[in-house]
Every structure is written in C-alpha cells, then in structure tokens.
C-alpha cells in the first residue's frame, strides 16, 4: 500500500520526467492539502459549491472512464448508482437520525452490493447491448422508486437530518469531502490500474484472445471494475445530493448524469487518467461561458457540448489530452509499464506478455480485434 501511494505521489510531484527530491514532492503535496483546507475561508460560497460540483463530476467521469476506457464496458446506466447512492444516504441518515456525513460510507457499500448482483446478469450482454441493458436497469429502479410512497414517490424526499450539522460547517465539509473523493477517484484508479487487476483489464482491452490465452480472468477483472465504478458513482452522488438537501427520482436517475460523464471523458481523452481532469475543466469552462457570459439556456450548452463530443469522436478519438501531453512534459499518471530489465524477466514473464498496453482507448492498438 505504501508502495502504491508512494508511486502515486511520485507521479503527481515528479511530473513524469524530472526526478526532484523527496522534500520538494512532499512540500507540493502539503501546499495542495493546505490550499484545500483553507479554501472555504478564502473563496465565496458560490465558488465552493461550484468547485464541489466539478470535483464530484470529476470523480464520476473517472469511474466511467475506468469502465469505458479500461474495462471495455460502456455503461449508459451509470446514473442508477448516482441515484442509489443518494437514496441510500438519505434513508440511512433519516432512519438512523444521524448527520448525513456519518453514514456516507453506506452509500458506496449499497451501490457495490447492487452492482455485484446486477453484473451477474448484465455481463451476459456485450458492448452496445450491455450499454442499453444497464440503461434499462436504471429506468426500472427509477420507476420502482417513483411508485414507492415510502421512498417519497415521484415527489422525492428532503434531508431533515442535515440540521444536525452546524450550518456553518455544511458547505466546507461538503467541499472537503468532494475534494477527497476527487483525489481518491484519480489516485484510486491509478493504483487499481497499476495492480494485477488493472493489468488484466488493459490486456483484455487491447487483445482479449491473447489475454485469455495467458490466463487472464476477463470476467473477474471486469466485475471488480464494475463494482468499484458503482461504488465511486454512489459516493459522489450521495455527496452531491447532500449538498442540495433534496432527492427525487427525476433528478437522481437523470440520464444527463451519464451524458456529462461521457462527454467529459470523450473530450478529455478516454483511456487516460488525465483525460477526465482536462475534460472536467473544459466541460465547466464551456458551461460557465455559455450560460453565464452569453446567457444561453441549459439546453444550448448541452447542444454545444454534444457537438464538441461528436467532433472529438470524429477527429480526435483519443481526446484532447494527447495534444496537451507533449507541452506538459509527458504523462503525469502513466499506467504504462516499462519492459522489465533482464534480472526481473524471469519473475515477470507471464505478466509482461500482455501488458504493453496502449494508452489509448478508442481506436486502440492498430491491428487488434
């Protein structure tokens, strides 16, 4: 674990190519942490809310990227976990009569459990069939909750237990938790992809026949990715709806959640860890420009984003990150592994056979499939 964390920090502080000293790296991390801690007193409430939203969106996009860019699972029903996380948190908090933040871990647990069950039959579907199968599942859950009066029905439910939190701390706490979730989503995915599971996923993505022939368990690796992505979306969704203090099926299971995740990942660069970060920045910059500066309605900004996404798929299927990468001194969070040096070969032959993965998702290595 220490090893993984160390590598992650190395990646962010070392910026790939340079190898500065330990003190330098730790001081950068310390400055970042300090900046997040003091931010609520420096920036206004509106900016806090905006940044929280962006960071939660980054976490969700990163989860979708893990599925689509690495696990080969395009889920169009990821909003079901956003909604389930929110409902799980609301009902745990209301029935236990505790402040929402205390029961936060229950949301990802609920989503992980649901995802584990759903995967058992959704994994029988492939590609587009899986995409729409998950979407149908999301609709079913949404309709079931709309019909259940005990869960608030179509009108939804509020979060009265939010009063148990000191109102002065509600916004900063949401902000800090959102920041922690965003960082965890990036570095957690990084750690996962550097692990055996991640290597397996990328091997399958790049060449499933070769992967199966060296004994990679395709189903198991995808299952782990699906459950983790569900938990991540559930956690982000729970925090997101805690901030609004109200949840209803129309908002919680809105397909626009997955639309946003997809557009962010495609614009930034599918199958790279930096892509969603860049994508979130572009997504929110575009949104603020179109809606605040030009005063356009939400519909027009979705039209604009959709067109940008279409253009990205047609002309830059790897997203914008590969274009930016060169200027920033290489990958920040590379999950690519160097071929082992001779003494290590004996130990790693099996693992190395299929891990020369391309960092690209869409239109991966030419010639495969």
């Amino acid at each position: 674990m220490t090893q993984i964390r160390w590598r992650a920090l190395q990646a962010v502080a070392g910026l790939g190519t340079r190898r500065p000293g330990r003190v330098y790296r730790w001081s950068i991390v310390a400055v970042c942490v300090l900046a997040v801690i003091v931010a609520p007193w420096v920036i206004g409430e509106g900016a806090q809310r905006f940044l929280s939203e962006a960071m939660l969106m980054l976490a969700m996009a990163q989860m979708w990227n893990l599925l689509a860019g690495y696990a080969g699972l395009v889920s169009m029903g990821q909003q079901v976990f956003v909604g389930l996380g929110a409902y799980g948190l609301f009902f745990a908090s209301i029935s236990l009569k505790v402040a929402p933040f205390w029961v936060l871990p229950l949301a990802p647990l609920l989503c992980a459990a649901v995802a584990a069950i759903v995967a058992l039959f959704m994994f029988r579907l492939r590609e587009a069939y899986f995409a729409i199968g998950t979407w149908v599942f999301s609709e079913v859950v949404s309709l079931l909750i709309s019909k259940t009066e005990r869960l608030g029905g179509e009108r939804g439910v509020g979060l009265p237990t939010a009063r148990l939190v000191d109102p002065r701390w509600l916004e900063p706490l949401t902000f800090w938790i959102s920041a922690a979730i965003a960082v965890a989503s990036v570095f957690g995915t990084y750690a996962l992809l550097r692990s055996r599971v991640g290597l397996g996923l990328m091997t399958v993505r790049d060449n499933d026949v070769a992967a199966a022939s060296i004994g990679v368990d395709v189903w198991r690796n995808r299952f782990i990715a699906f459950v983790i992505a569900a938990a991540g979306c559930g956690l982000a969704g729970a925090v997101s709806f805690t901030a609004t203090l109200y949840v209803a099926p129309g908002f919680a299971f809105d397909p626009n959640w997955v639309v946003a995740m997809m557009i962010i990942v495609i614009i930034g660069g599918i199958g790279t860890l930096e892509g969603p970060i860049l994508g979130v920045i572009i997504y929110f910059a575009l949104r603020e420009t179109l809606t605040v500066v030009f005063g356009l309605s939400a519909g027009w900004y979705l039209i604009g984003l959709g067109m940008v996404a279409i253009a990205a798929i047609l002309f830059e299927p790897d997203g914008l990150w590969p274009l930016v990468r060169g200027r920033l001194g290489g990958d920040w969070l590379s999950v690519r592994r160097e071929p082992p040096t001779p003494p290590r070969i004996a130990a790693a032959t099996a693992a190395a056979a299929g891990v020369r993965s391309s960092p690209h998702g869409l239109g991966a290595t030419p010639g495969d499939r």
Partner: protein, 288 residues
C-alpha cells in the same frame, strides 16, 4: 372479457412497438452499429408531423406519413454519410454508439429549444374514436389500421431484402463488407441507403405512436429503450422476430398497466430483463 380486450389491445399496440424496433434491427444487422439516436429520430418525425399538420390542416395526419418518411429517409442518409460512415470501419466497437449518443444529446436539446418541453399529440379526428365490435369485444379502428400498416411494412421489408437485387446487396454487405467491394459494391453507399430506410421506418412508427400517445422532446429515451428491447427480445434472425418481440412487450405493458395503473413501462422493462437473464444466447443473432 376485460382481459381478452387488454391482450388484444396489447397485441395491437405491440405491432407498433415492433415497427419502432425493426428500423433499429435493420441498422444493427447490416452495420453492426446500435444507433442511439434512433429514439430521437422517432420523436423528431412526430414533431415534423405536428408541424406539417399546421401547414396543411385539411389533410389527414395519416396522409402525412409519406412526406415525413421521405424527410426521415434523407436525414438518415445524411447522418450515415456525414457522420457514422467515418467511424463504422474503426476497430473500436464503441465509436459508433458514443457518436450516435452525441447526436442524440444534440437532437434532444435542439427539439427542446425549438418546440418547447410541453407534451404534444397528433390529432387523428374521428378515426381516433371509432371502434369496431366483434361479439361483445370493442377494438379501436385506428389501432387495427396501425397493426395492418405495420404488418404491411414488415412484409414489404422482408420481400425487399429477400427478393430484390438491392436486398441481396444489403445482405451481402452485412455479411462481408470487404468482399462485396470486389463485386463493385460501395459499402458506404449501401449503409447510407440502409440508414435512410431504418429511419424512414422509425418515422412511420413515430407518427403513428404520436397519434396514440402524447410525446415530449424527452420521449426519445423511452422510445429508444423500447426499440432496443424489441430488437434484443426478437433477435431471432428475421424481422418477424422483432414483430413478436414488440407484441410481447406491448402485451406486457398493457397487462401491467391494467394491474397497476401508474406503472408506466415498468413491466415491459422487467420482462426484457428477465428475457435477457433467461435467453442470453438467443440475443445476438439479430441479422438480416
């Protein structure tokens, strides 16, 4: 007796659902691309119908099926030629669904901006209320007409694909895109025509559905899911499979609504999930 009537209505409604799905089945079967903007085109054709009715109010909406279908054919041809053909040869299987999903997002929000989010309805005059009685059962004339039209279109499609030169070219392209090039066929152009045909069928279904049920710019999601469920449930190799899939879903939905009036499409979705669970292997043979 009420149950017999419900089931008959379900069958009539299901014929329409089959029509919603058959265009999608055609596109999936020939191009291996699931067009996620299929539902948006279904709704768009309904809006086109509403607009045309305003221009020529003296014409019955059913007479507008042909012009709307022609417009939809051109849109489909253009969509395929300008956008989808650029990604259809990529090795990545997701490029097509992501691209068409982007198209769906753009179209849905454009329709919201142009037409507003209020529910609309296509008026069919006296025909909508007319009903025929057979031995105590009352069945609407319009639903019967719609089913007859669906069956006619299914038959026509089947005949075109099995009996004509164009149909042979389409089937050959679906099987071996690279080999038909040797015979002087341009797969891209075949795809353009097939997508045009797919959306023309979708537009007929969209217009007919707009007469039977109200719609908003957001209905595309629901329509796409129904169309997709029809394709998966009916993936039996012929388009009659899609018809059977549609009828199954239609009956499930109406019986569900009879048992539980505010269920919406819940029972159709549940039936689909159970179908996927029980028959996963029968699902992938959706070919022409």
């Amino acid at each position: 007796m009420i149950w017999v009537e419900t089931i008959i209505n379900g069958v009539l409604y299901g014929g329409l659902y089959g029509l919603l799905g058959v265009g999608l089945a055609l596109a999936v079967g020939v191009m291996r691309v699931v067009n996620l903007s299929h539902g948006e085109f279904i709704v768009l054709s309904a809006f086109l119908g509403v607009s045309l009715v305003r221009v020529v109010p003296w014409l019955h909406p059913l007479a507008l099926l042909l012009p709307v279908a022609v417009i939809a054919f051109c849109l489909g041809f253009g969509l395929q030629a300008v956008l989808i053909n650029r990604v259809v040869t990529r090795p990545d299987p997701f490029a097509g669904i992501l691209l068409t999903f982007g198209v769906a997002v753009v179209m849905r929000n454009l329709m919201v901006e142009i037409y507003g989010a209020d529910p609309r309805h296509l008026q069919a005059g006296h025909l909508a209320q007319a009903s025929a009685g057979f031995g105590g059962l009352h069945v609407g004339v319009l639903p019967l007409l719609i089913l007859a039209l669906s069956v006619a279109l299914f038959t026509a499609l089947q005949l075109v694909l099995t009996r004509t030169r164009f149909g042979r070219i389409v089937r050959a392209t679906a099987d071996h895109r690279d080999v038909v090039r040797l015979m002087g066929v341009n797969p891209g152009r075949v795809y353009n025509l097939v997508m045009g045909l797919s959306l023309a069928l979708a537009s007929v279904a969209g217009m007919l559905l707009a007469i039977r049920a109200s719609f908003t710019p957001y209905s595309g999601v629901e329509r796409l899911l129904v169309a997709f469920e029809v394709v998966v449930l009916g993936g039996l190799g012929t388009f009659w499979g899609a018809m059977l899939g549609g009828i199954t879903l239609g009956v499930a939905e109406l019986v569900g609504l009879r048992l539980d009036p505010n269920a919406g499409p819940l029972y159709a979705h549940l039936l689909f999930l159970v179908g996927v669970l029980l028959r996963p292997n029968g699902l992938f043979r959706a070919r022409t």
